[in-house]
């Protein structure tokens, strides 16, 4: 097997490991297999990214059937970047979940948990890597179905309702995407995305294409929790097992954003989406609304996990704003924020998981006095929170800066104000947590240190340090995102 097989292996490895986990039955062995597979997937993703950065787009055909008849995997800078994000987050979360998952998942169900986890990873990677619209739908379903299972696995019974609602929403979203793909197939006779991109410009006036576009944007909007289709997200994140919240918050919506970017800029083309369709005004309004309402609601939440969920809605709003700018700099901001938001939310959810285990809950009052009892975890949460706000020296600042520069370039002053207000609101909701952690004493008086185990702290801090690293050293993240954005605008891959 040579380098040429990497795109397939990226997806196949977790796919094969998933049933193996089911057969293993022992939670510990299943974990070992999962982390091995995830780490290998990470290595593959890194290799792919290097390959793509040096040699341009890599194409892989299944079963020797050339596109547009067969299914092809098409790895370019944009999705190689997303692959690297997903696999690295997945690996870090798995590092955490050796101990982290055992707290919430019954030992008899652990192998099932890892099976679902790997299937979800498979789905996410598949969605990212594939160059075939129908194949994308299949992987979307794989990832969605397994994530419903993951969400419902926690000890909190409200997780069941949350998973059920997510199931309904997700299925409608997936169906919309399927309908859209079907409509496109109807007019073009092809499912291959590159082929679609070639054929669609000629069919710009076709009503069918327009309907397909509508179904597609709404369908993907559901998956990425675009305001006002985000209603499933806060509960799903809040009541899922903590590791699952961390994993999904950092990866699932990111992949959905990528898919939206791929369809808008690559398959339909930005001229169709923004010139002949009023997509721009829709996205700007929805993005701004997401930033403002998500952040405001987050301020009033009692449960920190729900708060982080609403903050995710707001952060997705920033990404939508970046997409709506229809410029290389805007798209760069969105892509960089994919990475940075994955790092900050992953870190925050994991830190919160540690606190929840030690202090007995994720409600705001549970965290009283945590600064004294769990200094390292609290510090991690603070740094992650600063990054979420967009304080300089953190990754969050880089994203915001890029977005603001892009907005200035377009001269959209109102959007600038929205971003500023959003950041201030973020200060407010993060400050509530910080105040509780450091300035309120614990309700129970014995304030001995209850710092969590180092094997849990290590993955948390890995993500937090990454937040600072990508805040200081932006050459790599911004550089890759910039090239990806240029490529999506039709520049050289």
């Amino acid at each position: 097997m040579t380098l040429a097989q990497l795109p397939a292996l990226q997806v196949i490895l977790p796919l094969i490991a998933a049933p193996l986990c089911l057969l293993l039955r022992s939670g510990r062995l299943a974990w070992l297999l999962s982390i091995l597979v995830s780490a290998t997937a990470l290595i593959i993703a890194v290799l792919l990214l290097r390959l793509v950065l040096e040699n341009g787009t890599v194409i892989y055909t299944y079963g020797g059937w050339a596109a547009p008849w067969g299914i092809e995997y098409r790895v370019d800078i944009a999705n190689a970047f997303v692959l690297a994000i997903v696999t690295s987050i997945s690996t870090v979360v798995l590092l955490f979940s050796r101990v982290g998952a055992s707290w919430e998942i019954k030992s008899s169900e652990q192998s099932l948990f890892y099976t679902a986890y790997l299937l979800c990873l498979t789905g996410l990677l598949g969605m990212t890597v594939t160059g075939d619209a129908f194949n994308l739908f299949v992987f979307l379903e794989i990832s969605s179905l397994s994530s419903y299972v993951l969400i419902a696995m926690g000890p909190d019974r409200r997780g069941l309702t949350a998973a059920y609602q997510y199931l309904i929403m997700g299925t409608i979203g997936a169906t919309f995407i399927l309908i859209a793909v079907g409509l496109l197939y109807m007019v073009t006779g092809t499912l291959n995305m590159a082929d679609l991109a070639n054929l669609l410009p000629a069919l710009e006036q076709s009503r069918t294409v327009r309907v397909a576009f509508a179904f597609l944007t709404v369908g993907i909007g559901l998956k990425l929790a675009m305001f006002p289709l985000h209603l499933w997200l806060p509960n799903a994140y809040a009541y899922a097992p903590h590791v699952v919240s961390a994993f999904l918050a950092a990866t699932a919506t990111k992949v959905a954003v990528y898919v939206l970017v791929r369809f808008i800029y690559d398959v339909f083309g930005s001229s169709f989406a923004f010139d002949s369709m009023p997509l721009q005004s829709i996205l700007v309004v929805l993005g701004a609304a997401a930033v403002l309402s998500g952040s405001t609601v987050a301020i009033f939440q009692h449960n920190i996990k729900r708060m982080l969920g609403y903050s995710s809605v707001a952060q997705i709003g920033y990404m939508i704003l970046g997409i709506s700018l229809a410029s290389v700099s805007g798209l760069t901001a969105t892509l960089v924020h994919l990475l940075n938001h994955a790092l900050m939310k992953g870190g925050l959810f994991l830190a919160l998981a540690c606190m929840a285990f030690q202090l007995g809950g994720t409600r705001l009052v549970d965290l009283a006095g945590a600064g004294r009892r769990m200094p390292w975890t609290s510090a991690a949460f603070v740094v992650g929170g600063l990054s979420l706000i967009g304080v300089p020296l953190t990754a969050g600042f880089v994203s915001k800066w890029l977005l603001v520069v892009a907005v200035l370039e377009a001269g959209w002053w109102p959007v600038l104000i929205v971003i500023a207000v959003g950041s201030l609101l973020a200060v407010a909701y993060i400050w509530r947590v910080i105040e509780m952690i450091y300035f309120r004493s614990a309700t129970n008086p014995d304030e001995h240190s209850e710092e969590t185990h180092w094997s849990l702290l290590a993955p948390v801090w890995l993500l937090i340090v990454a937040n600072v690293y990508f805040g200081l050293h932006t050459q790599w993240s911004v550089g890759v995102a910039q090239r990806a954005a240029q490529m999506l605008f039709g520049g050289p891959g």
Partner: protein
């Protein structure tokens, strides 16, 4: 070693401090400024480090004479303050202080606006812990107000930078207003940056965070605070806005209004804060005039001011440390118990009042000569009044009410030895610079051909001004006209956000309610409707936060799909 950005030693060192045992931390904090100063000596002028980040070329380190002089004095002040804080066993304070100083020094050597902004915010974030370290509810609230204002200054700075970058395409931190331009014609970016600097420099009406927060800081924290934040702003103004006419007027007002507040203030550390504000005014005037002589004056003033203001804060801190109070109405006659502290305090007082042979004189004379040279008559008269005011509150009031005056009956021990040592070094520096001004002049960015003692007449008139002011003080005391010290607080601009704003909201609701009894219930409701509606929509059980029934979620999808279909077809 020389490629390390200045200030980083303190920031990183500060982060390492918590690892050390508690008893060693204070000593560690003492060593760090020495190391930093050594590094600074190795830096050569004109050196710069530039980096390219995300397509913007940045200049995180730029060394020139202006940066260096601030670098030196910041390190000296950090050393003195750390020596003064040798008894403190509080990790938070040591870490915060070191990182605060480090970032202030980093900011002074920042060659581009982004780097400046980063350090600017770190100084705010770290310094607030010196206030919170007092661990009282009052300190917490004051710290929070301080933090909000400081962060606000940072946010203004960042927005200003964005606009400025958009207008000029440059991120370099140099003079932001061209020689021929004025603030009026400058773009919004320059305005915002000016405002951000102004907040940190405690411009009139933007000043109150200083008097609000510093007196709430810990004893040692106040010494640190007095030295860096505002002087960083002075540096920034000297770099970005030299010769901006508006600054002269702002500066004169700044020198004048705090002296009236200082007369009636009871908290002696707060008196020092008003005095600090007044001294900043002299520097701002110098920057506003913008000639080489004037800029030299402003910078020299900043240099010596850091020393004597730290000395005064240290002496008042020692009083607070030993007696537990800093209210003028409860103090007096302490020279018996704390003779050394009293002596050091008098040296500081004479320096700040600019007695000849003390450091204030050799610095202030530069600015005053520049004012005369430029023929700014009103400014000159204003500054003379302000000089008499300085004599009143810092020169006489502080030492008089703490150490002399009515005997309070308090008997305590002399300040600890390390405090005395820190004050002693500062006092020696004050006198040394006063006697040998060339040591200071050699550090200034522009060549100095000014000799403060060449014209004896100048010294004489200064003596006259100060001693007759002292005479007036004595006369006022004898006539019983001097306002007695009282346990009270005096309102300042913080009233607007601490009292007026909450009251207005309150009274609107209540007054409306009183209009008619019948409408009472409904008007109260109306007053609270805004908050209620926010809660209703955004609160924990609000419309936007509620767990929606699946059916209505689906309805939303249908609505959105229909809307986008319609939009796409139109």
């Amino acid at each position: 070693m020389s490629s390390l950005p200045p200030g980083l030693i303190l920031i990183l060192g500060g982060l390492v401090l918590p690892v050390l045992p508690r008893s060693v931390q204070a000593k560690g904090a003492l060593v760090l400024p020495v190391l930093g100063l050594l590094q600074l000596l190795f830096l050569s002028e004109g050196m710069s480090v530039d980096v390219e980040i995300a397509g913007y070329s940045l200049l995180p380190v730029r060394v020139d004479k202006l940066s260096l002089v601030f670098g030196y004095i910041f390190y000296i002040a950090a050393f003195l303050a750390a020596l003064y804080a040798l008894h403190v066993r509080d990790t938070t304070q040591h870490v915060a202080a070191m990182m605060y100083v480090g970032s202030a020094i980093g900011a002074v050597f920042a060659g581009d606006l982004i780097t400046l902004f980063v350090y600017w915010e770190i100084t705010a974030l770290t310094s607030v812990f010196l206030i919170w370290a007092n661990r009282s509810e009052r300190a917490y609230r004051a710290g929070l107000r301080y933090l909000v204002i400081q962060i606000g200054s940072g946010v203004l700075l960042l927005s200003g930078i964005l606009f400025y970058f958009h207008e000029s395409g440059s991120l370099l931190f140099t003079q932001l207003i061209g020689p021929g331009e004025s603030l009026v014609t400058a773009g919004p970016g320059v305005w915002l940056i000016f405002l951000a600097f102004g907040i940190k420099c405690a411009f009139p009406l933007l000043h109150n965070w200083l008097q609000d927060a510093y007196p709430q800081a810990t004893i040692t924290g106040a010494v640190f605070l007095s030295a860096f934040t505002t002087k960083l702003a002075v540096y920034a103004l000297a770099r970005g806005f030299p010769g901006t006419e508006a600054l002269i007027g702002i500066g004169v007002v700044m020198t004048l209004f705090p002296i009236f507040f200082a007369v009636i203030e009871n908290d002696l550390r707060k008196v020092l804060c008003y005095s600090l504000n007044n001294q900043l005014g002299f520097m701002v005037v110098g920057i506003g005039i913008g000639t080489e002589l004037a800029l030299n004056g402003a910078i020299a003033h900043a240099f010596v001011h850091i020393l004597y203001k730290a000395l005064l804060f240290m002496s008042m801190g020692a009083v607070l440390y030993r007696t537990g109070t800093i209210r003028a109405s409860e103090l007096g006659g302490l020279y018996r118990s704390m003779p050394w502290t009293a002596a050091f305090c008098i040296v500081g007082a004479m320096s700040i009042s600019a007695f000849p042979l003390f450091s204030g004189f050799v610095a202030k004379s530069l600015t005053m000569s520049a004012v005369i040279e430029g023929y700014y008559v009103l400014t000159f008269i204003g500054l003379l009044v302000a000089s008499a005011g300085v004599m009143e509150h810092s020169g006489i009031k502080i030492p008089y009410f703490a150490f002399f005056g009515r005997d309070s009956g308090i008997r305590c021990r002399e300040a600890p030895i390390h405090m005395c040592l820190a004050m002693g070094i500062a006092a020696v520096l004050c006198i040394g610079i006063g006697c040998f001004p060339d040591l200071l002049y050699a550090l200034l960015p522009y060549p100095v051909d000014y000799e403060p003692y060449a014209d004896f007449g100048h010294s004489l008139t200064q003596f006259q001004l100060l001693l007759f002011a002292a005479l007036a003080f004595a006369v006022l005391l004898r006539m019983g006209l001097y306002p007695p010290e009282q346990n009270a607080i005096n309102l300042d601009t913080d009233w607007f956000y601490r009292r007026l704003a909450p009251n207005v909201i309150h009274s609107i609701t209540n007054n409306l309610a009183n209009v008619t009894d019948r409408l009472t219930a409904t008007t109260r409701l109306a007053g609270r409707t805004l908050m209620r509606s926010v809660i209703r929509h955004y609160g924990p059980e609000g419309t936007l936060a509620r767990t929606w029934p699946t059916g209505s979620m689906v309805l939303w999808i249908a609505v959105l799909l229909a809307a986008s279909l319609v939009l796409y077809f139109v």
